[in-house]
């Protein structure tokens, strides 16, 4: 039983990947759950994605992996809530932009997608 419980807890830490939409006020709305492979394609088409879950490290690692596969080189930006809104999320984006759009957002313990 203990083993089963541990397995269940570990699973709940695994992040989910969603299509995302930037909403008024700087927040991020999560849409349909997608696979990592589809997230990479979505990013290559300049769409936004968001990685959700309770583990900051796992969310960040997954978001970085998606952006790396989609864009090659990337950088991480923290939210600036004075202008990006209270619900803004940290994200990875291409570096350099070179006309590319979109972000790979991820949740933190304090900041969640809607």
């Amino acid at each position: 039983m203990a083993r089963s419980k541990k397995s269940s807890t570990a699973q709940s830490d695994e992040p989910t990947i969603h299509e995302a939409t930037c909403v008024a006020g700087g927040g991020v709305a999560k849409g349909a759950v997608i696979s990592e492979q589809d997230a990479v394609k979505h990013r290559q088409n300049d769409g936004d994605v968001v990685v959700c879950g309770p583990s900051l490290r796992k969310n960040r690692a997954m978001a970085r992996m998606i952006e790396q596969q989609a864009s090659g080189t990337y950088e991480m930006h923290q939210p600036h809530t004075e202008t990006a809104g209270q619900d803004a999320l940290p994200h990875f984006q291409p570096k350099p932009r070179n006309g590319r759009e979109g972000h790979t957002f991820y949740e933190t313990p304090n900041r969640k997608a809607k």
């Binding site: 490290r57 930006h77 004075e82 202008t83 350099p96 932009r97 304090n110």
Partner: protein, 180 residues
């Protein structure tokens, strides 16, 4: 930069989870502190200062150019037959995002400080740097007796410290043949 420092930004980009986790916490602390700071700005501010400080975000804009110039404005007093030119020092920042081009024109009160990136800035990139984060200060802040100050951190690690008394934000219409 006093809140969103280059050092904190670099730690946020660390591949070391311990460092990045701590940076995430420190960033939240910086956000709260800056929010408290900005709430203390004087009620009476130049209109576009307030718009820049509290509304309009230039995060992710390409910083195409910045330079300090002196403008000459003709003036005359017909009563005395006096003709003269008034010189004003300005600092112009040219910004671009997709098809949007904007000029920020600061009427500066001292020379602008352009601080190069810290050594071995690992995030330097080809092309125009991006506008990352910015901070505003007013004369009521300690050790600032020259009006207002706008500090901007660019993605190549350069910090601009702009002391000014007024600022104008001018959207520029880009002709379609130039755009393409």
């Amino acid at each position: 930069m006093e809140y969103f420092t280059p050092e904190l930004y670099l730690r946020s980009n660390s591949l070391d989870d311990d460092i990045a986790d701590q940076a995430q916490e420190d960033w939240e602390v910086a956000l709260r502190a800056y929010k408290e700071h900005i709430a203390k700005l004087p009620k009476r501010l130049p209109a576009q200062f307030r718009e820049l400080a509290l509304g309009k975000s230039h995060h992710d804009y390409e910083v195409v150019e910045y330079s300090q110039k002196v403008t000459q404005t003709p003036t005359s007093d017909q009563r005395f037959g006096v003709h003269a030119e008034i010189s004003r020092a300005v600092f112009v920042v040219t910004l671009k995002k997709q098809d949007d081009l904007e000029l920020l024109i600061y009427f500066i009160t001292r020379d602008v400080e352009v601080r190069p990136s810290v050594n071995e800035w690992p995030l330097t990139e080809a092309g125009e740097p991006l506008w990352l984060y910015d901070e505003f200060y007013a004369e009521s802040d300690r050790d600032r007796d020259h009006g207002y100050t706008h500090c901007i951190l660019l993605s190549n690690g350069v910090e601009l410290t702009i002391p000014f008394c007024d600022v104008m934000l001018i959207p520029v219409e880009v002709a379609s043949n130039v755009r393409s």
